[in-house]
């Protein structure tokens, strides 16, 4: 009787195993096929956010590279930097990437190929805070996981299971299918084409409510990983002899005190002998709706003035450095 049951269970077990193996095999095959197709078309995109990241990592040879979130993408005009500093420039900022984690990964991708002369890193309030979404947003680098091993250590910070997830060929391109499809089509023209990575915003801020003043004196918890990565970013620039300028660009609204992340960034920059320019509460920009499109972003007019100011500051800093060296 027991033998009968055992042989029956053994048969069922074997059958279940075979069926499951067949199922997994089909999934793996489809995953491999679609994943490779997506990878091919991801790297043949000709426009869009993902294309700009690929361009920064794989193609740009600009002397000046600008890093940062949307406040970099929409506020730093590379043409102005080229004209003022007589060096080629590319804006490698990306919307929504409000942490140095992403910027450091892209920098590693760039410095693997060549060494830029100047790097501008735009950082903002709360940059070093404990926001979990900063790690989720590293998903934007997933497509480079298999093709750019130098980025892996940063992408793996997203979760402890990241290496396992990347077994799938499709997963790195999760939720990207529409972008891959549309940005490969030549028929559709981009609404707002970028100017060497820079995306100017034409609109002017509409004032809908009374101006607020924000208290920024709170000392919140800082993320030690983000601090370490910022130091690594600085270290990479120092090692490759890249002139690094860390900048906090202007805000529209008045703040009392200085944001805790900015205070710490300033300290780190000072300790590493890096220039840090804080325009966050620059009176020239504060409460001037004609220069902003919203409370966080300068419009095209504002960006033009700001880019000129930053270029000027870099020139001055460069001169004083040269003088000091002499």
């Amino acid at each position: 009787m027991i033998k009968k049951i055992n042989s029956r269970t053994g048969k069922v077990l074997a059958y279940c195993f075979v069926q499951l193996a067949l199922f997994v095999a089909i999934v793996v095959l489809i995953d491999f096929g679609i994943g490779n197709l997506l990878q091919h078309f991801y790297f043949t995109m000709k426009r869009g956010t993902q294309y700009r990241t690929t361009y920064a990592i794989e193609k740009t040879t600009a002397d000046i590279i600008i890093f940062g979130s949307s406040r970099a993408v929409h506020q730093y005009d590379p043409l102005i930097f080229e004209e003022r500093l007589k060096l080629s420039c590319y804006n490698a900022g990306r919307d929504g990437e409000e942490s140095t984690l992403y910027h450091y990964a892209v920098l590693k991708g760039i410095t693997k190929r060549y060494t830029p002369k100047i790097v501008i890193l735009d950082l903002m309030n709360g940059e070093l805070g404990n926001q979990l979404y900063s790690y989720d947003r590293l998903a934007s680098l997933s497509p480079y996981y298999h093709t750019h091993p130098e980025l892996r250590s940063i992408i793996d910070l997203r979760s402890k299971h990241e290496t396992l997830r990347k077994i799938s060929s499709i997963y790195p391109f999760n939720s990207l299918i529409i972008s891959i499809f549309t940005n490969n089509l030549n028929a559709r023209k981009e609404k707002n084409p970028d100017i060497q990575g820079y995306l100017p915003i034409q609109s002017t801020k509409i004032i809908t409510k009374a101006l607020s003043t924000y208290d920024k004196t709170e000392q919140y918890d800082l993320d030690s990983i983000k601090i370490s990565v910022l130091k690594l970013f600085i270290g990479e620039c120092n090692q490759k002899k890249i002139k690094l300028f860390i900048i906090c660009s202007p805000y529209y609204e008045k703040e009392t005190g200085t944001d805790y992340s900015i205070v710490n960034i300033e300290k780190i920059a000072a300790s590493k002998n890096i220039d840090f320019f804080n325009f966050g509460q620059d009176s020239f920009y504060l409460k001037r709706p004609e220069l902003f499109c919203d409370v966080l972003h300068l419009n095209k007019n504002g960006a033009t003035i700001f880019s000129n100011t930053v270029a000027e500051k870099i020139m001055l800093a460069d001169k004083s450095r040269t003088t000091l060296q002499h």
Partner: protein, 476 residues
């Protein structure tokens, strides 16, 4: 440990493999240990609360069975008091204290009662209700008291349904722990299919919709009526996919090991009336309230006034069960009012159907009934989802007073959301109205279901929200 995590994926494979390798007499030990591990993966110390209710109800069950009539009731009351007491302390204490503070503040007095800084134990309402159903059934004589402590503990802690149901009855589940479950291909395949479908609903549909819904509902003051309508309709699908997805994974995981849990959802949005909706939505909770609250209150075999009272009490308590917030109480009350309204307008509606000629057009009549029922449930969901009652009323006001263009949270979010909703609608519509027709999921040609479920897995990898987070009902 979330069902939509790699941690659970590994846990499930290991537990199921060992389960079938062990002699069946030892399997309960494995399942109990696995369930403890599963629960402790959230907040380890809260297993003590679970342990407390298990010990109390185990002893209460034995005492009830062995005692005389009067003492039986006393033991039942003690058990219910302990269970409801745990709920009161961990779930409702701070809510009650907050309301007391507001009341005292109104009279210019400071509240001297301190607040507790505690986290709500995961799935507290679910396992408490399951434990209560055991002592009630023993008291009623429908279930023999379980003498094996380990088996009883497993009844409360069985990991697939521990944190978000289905809320089982002892008559359905307890005996299954003593049965010898042989590995059967049918159970194995059907269980895995259910798990994949549940994961698809959670990761591809619910978590995608949540991106839009959270953006709109967490900044409701910045959005117009049209956007709030879209977000509310999306939320109705989100919560369905989130919760029924969880139930499917739970039922599927149990099924792989040979256990049959009760079904929790039967395509509720195809209901023709609110009363039908409640027979199809969260069935294990609805039947719990029906069996242990509505019928003891007299059900519908009472005067009309008393019936109205019974309905309102059941739905308000049901709302309160979901969470310690006035929004849930209002949500429950609205659903209760719907049922009262349906009862009192039944004759008028029948006449109206006949007068408009809809009675001669059954398909159109059915369509109208289904759409109206869905819209009514959507209206109630506003109160369920809103962050506060103030927000909920603001949203209702905006929906009925302002229009404008729909906010789109990035074109891909909208495209994936709409595609997910459409896919779900087609699948459920086919299952509901044309179940006998050609089926991809249950085709006799075994390759077709394999490819269908492969496609679902590929969709999860391709467009699923990888870091969607926990299930909505975990907080209850």
């Amino acid at each position: 440990m979330l069902f939509n995590s790699l941690h659970f994926f590994a846990f499930f494979i290991i537990v199921t493999a060992i389960y079938y390798l062990l002699p069946y007499k030892l399997r309960w030990i494995l399942l109990l240990a696995a369930s403890c591990y599963f629960y402790m993966a959230f907040v380890p110390v809260y297993i003590l609360i679970l342990g407390f209710t298990i010990v109390v109800d185990y002893i209460a069950g034995l005492c009830i069975e062995n005692a005389q009539q009067k003492k039986r009731k006393l033991f039942l009351i003690c058990s219910l008091f302990a269970n409801i007491g745990v709920l009161a302390v961990f779930k409702y204490y701070n809510f009650a204290n907050e309301n007391l503070s507001s009341l005292l503040h109104y009279f210019g007095v400071n509240n001297p009662v301190p607040f507790l800084s505690i986290l709500l134990p995961i799935g507290l309402s679910f396992h408490t209700f399951q434990a209560m159903s055991y002592t009630i059934e023993v008291y009623r004589g429908n279930q023999k008291a379980e003498r094996h402590f380990g088996i009883y503990a497993l009844y409360v802690m069985f990991y697939p349904q521990l944190v978000a149901g289905p809320i089982e009855r002892p008559q359905n589940l307890l005996h299954q722990f003593r049965e010898k479950h042989l590995l059967q291909y049918n159970n194995f395949a059907e269980g895995l299919k259910l798990m994949i479908w549940g994961l698809f609903k959670k990761i591809v549909i619910a978590d995608r919709l949540s991106i839009y819904v959270n953006t709109v509902y967490n900044n409701a003051d910045q959005h117009n009526g049209t956007t709030l309508i879209v977000a509310t309709l999306f939320f109705s699908v989100q919560i369905y996919c989130d919760f029924s997805g969880y139930s499917d994974i739970a039922i599927g995981a149990a099924r792989v090991m040979g256990f049959k849990l009760m079904s929790n959802f039967k395509r509720p949005y195809f209901s023709k009336s609110i009363s039908e909706f409640w027979q199809r939505w969260h069935i294990s909770l609805s039947t719990w309230f029906k069996d242990y609250l509505y019928f003891p209150l007299g059900g519908n075999k009472v005067s009309i006034k008393r019936w109205c009272f019974n309905i309102l009490v059941v739905f308000i308590i049901s709302g309160f069960w979901h969470g310690a917030n006035w929004t849930f109480i209002l949500w429950g009350a609205i659903n209760g009012f719907y049922l009262l309204f349906a009862r009192f307008t039944q004759n008028i509606r029948t006449k109206l159907t006949s007068l408009t000629g809809l009675s001669r057009l059954p398909k159109i009549n059915l369509f109208i009934q289904v759409v109206i029922t869905w819209l009514l449930t959507c209206f109630a969901w506003i109160f369920f989802r809103a962050n506060s009652t103030k927000d909920a009323f603001e949203i209702v006001k905006k929906i009925f007073s302002t229009g404008g263009a729909v906010f789109t949270e990035g074109s891909s979010v909208m495209v994936f959301s709409c595609a997910g909703v459409l896919f779900l609608f087609l699948v459920e519509f086919k299952r509901h109205y044309y179940n006998g027709l050609f089926s991809l999921s249950n085709n006799t040609n075994r390759l077709i279901p394999k490819f269908y479920y492969c496609l679902l897995v590929i969709m999860i990898l391709l467009v699923g929200v990888a870091d969607g987070g926990q299930f909505i009902y975990f907080q209850f």
